[in-house]
């Protein structure tokens, strides 16, 4: 089976990152609850945000800024429903 290279993501990802993320509903990969990100618990760790599930405390996501760069992890999210 053939596959495309990462450039194929350009269209879909530019769509993903144009919505207001707080309105997106995310499923926690730890407890499987589904909730809008606006209800998640956000801790500020230096120049990073740690987003935790309101139901089980597990880490859903991190956003870290440093030296003019930004890293985003959705390590604890199994899926996000994007408002469109």
């Amino acid at each position: 089976m053939s596959h495309l290279d990462g450039n194929a993501l350009a269209g879909v990802l530019s769509e993903v990152f144009t919505f207001d993320p707080t309105l997106a509903r995310a499923r926690c990969a730890n407890c499987y609850s589904v909730d809008v990100l606006a209800r998640a618990m956000v801790y500020v760790d230096g120049s990073a945000f740690v987003v935790r599930c309101a139901s089980c405390d597990a880490v859903l996501a991190t956003v870290m800024d440093g030296d003019g760069r930004r890293w985003v992890s959705l390590k604890g999210v199994s899926a996000i429903e994007i408002p469109r």
Partner: protein, 196 residues
Amino acid sequence: MSFITRGFSGRSHDRDPRLPPGQTEVSDWPVLSAGPTPRVDTEEWEFSIRTENGAHTWTWDQFMALKIDDVSTDIHCVTHWSKLGTSWRGVSIDTLFEGIETSHDFVMAHSYGGYTTNVPLDELLNGQAWIAFEFDGEPLEAEHGGPARLIVPHLYFWKSAKWVRGLVTMPNDDPGFWEQSGYHIHGDPWKEERYW
């Protein structure tokens, strides 16, 4: 002209040679928190080292009976602050590894609350790292990682895991919590190993 010359030389003399590049000295101690502060009673606290050959576990009382070191050291946070001349008491990782055999070269530190961070084993040994339970002569506060935290002062302070509960050896240098999410796999402040 002399004004400019004086300005440049004055600047280099003002900078404390203990400060790695890109760091500024602070006198307070900023509290950073990636989550709720775990409150672990010393009655419940346990510390363990797990290798491919099995596990060693200490209770708080057993831990306090080990050889305790006084440590004076500088600490450097990746967010550009350093705290110079801090005083700690704790048990060295050398003491804890006495009698423990492993063929693994790397360690994952695990904390109460779920935090993890990876460190090469040879950078935890030879007087380079401790499990510390006192800061400035006082029991380490929960906000700063008490009852006990790892300190690895020669690496950026995210490696010094708060609320540490164990070390697990591993054959590969797998990334811990922040190393997976942007921080450097190693974290040497003198080389400014801050991010990927």
